[in-house]
Symmetry: C2
Subunit: 237 residues, 2 copies
């Protein structure tokens, strides 16, 4: 890819920019341990996350109107707590626990890499996370976005075409001037199908030590880089 032709970089966030698994495990422990509860926090984090795709699928298929990810996360939390046999919580406690997703830690290379990339490119998340969630995660982790795009702005969940196309419409750029950066081959395949350039940054520990998915590029991605610092170098920053 010749970098000057790309004007904006769009980022997947959960897994690609931030380490949701260990962050959520830590938040679950911080919430429940003082209440005298012990569980496998990492398994609990993965169980909460496993309800993510089915919840969005109800929106994608039109079984329910668009709902912010914060709301889906909260519904999924109720199911996950029941699955793990945990006691009921007051509404305010559920809200507090659900905001764990607003405090996800970036991978160590994310903020420094983004800071370099921003010198040359417009940077925006194109995540399924809603705007306020993305704003809070960015403030928590020092992520220098130019603006927040993605599912809520576009009114559609990835990998639906409208999630990408609705996002880049706000930038007044043709798809070919935008590059999707993700740790997930499926996300890149969907972005490429509507004309975006693609960059694969593998995150082999996203799902834990036994991860078998998305360890290597599985498509003709324009750039493959081991982390965001290397991505910045590859893109001339």
């Amino acid at each position: 890819v010749s970098p000057p032709e790309v004007e904006a970089l769009l980022f997947d966030v959960f897994g690609t920019v931030v380490d949701w698994r260990t962050s959520i495990a830590r938040e679950l422990e911080a919430f429940w341990a003082p209440r005298g509860i012990e569980r496998d926090w990492d398994a609990m984090a993965r169980a909460w996350r496993s309800r993510y795709q089915p919840a969005m699928e109800a929106v994608r298929t039109g079984r329910r109107p668009f709902a912010k990810l914060d709301l889906l996360h909260r519904e999924n939390l109720l199911g996950m707590l029941e699955e793990f046999g945990l006691p009921g919580l007051a509404e305010a406690e559920l809200d507090e626990l659900n905001r764990a997703w607003h405090r996800l830690d970036p991978w160590p290379d994310s903020a420094p890499g983004l800071t370099r990339l921003r010198r040359r490119y417009i940077l925006a998340p194109c995540s399924n996370g809603n705007v306020r969630l993305m704003v809070d995660v960015a403030r928590h982790g020092g992520l220098p976005w130019d603006t927040v795009l993605g599912a809520e702005a576009a009114g559609a969940y990835k990998p639906q075409p409208q999630a990408y196309l609705g996002s880049i419409a706000f930038l007044d750029l043709p798809a070919g001037a935008c590059m999707m950066v993700a740790a997930h081959n499926g996300d890149l395949a969907a972005a490429r199908a509507v004309g975006l350039r693609t960059a694969f940054v593998p995150r082999p520990h996203e799902h834990g030590p036994g991860q078998t998915k998305d360890l290597a590029p599985e498509g003709p991605w324009d750039v493959v880089a081991p982390d965001f610092e290397a991505l910045a170098t590859a893109l001339g920053c």
Copy 2:
């Protein structure tokens, strides 16, 4: 106002954060002078801007569907050039000149004041400018927004209620936890009518030495500050 209750500050941009008049006059001169044209650049800038409200009014009244401000600016440019008896331009030249609005300089206190305010508050423009225009102005002037809200995100032009309410909906905040910051009493009156807190920062030179409007607060605004540094101090930053 008691600052901890406010979580987000929304900003008018043209006039409040940036000095559109002298910036546009400079851009007009830089474009036309090398073409051997001399005019009153300040008058020309004001003439271009004077077509702004009527153009948005066509959207507000439903005479045309929502159109980005970049498009309205470009239509207005054609009328303004004719008004000043200027020669016709190629499409690419019109696009180039229209992008003058993407390079507006902030007032000297804007970036340092916003940088202080951002420590405590979520900051977003709530401007009639479209997202890409706001992104470019922020990159040009070093304005540390958390995300871009406003007319394009909300699908309505200020002072319509939906421009404010649609913006704060992305932040999942009640209106009373948001404060509109503007140099224009009318903008603040509209924001206050839908429940936002208000801060008035006068910009007595926005329209030039003969400015008669918006020199003083004309409503029960929560905060009045002479510039953004003083606003940061007033809001505990």
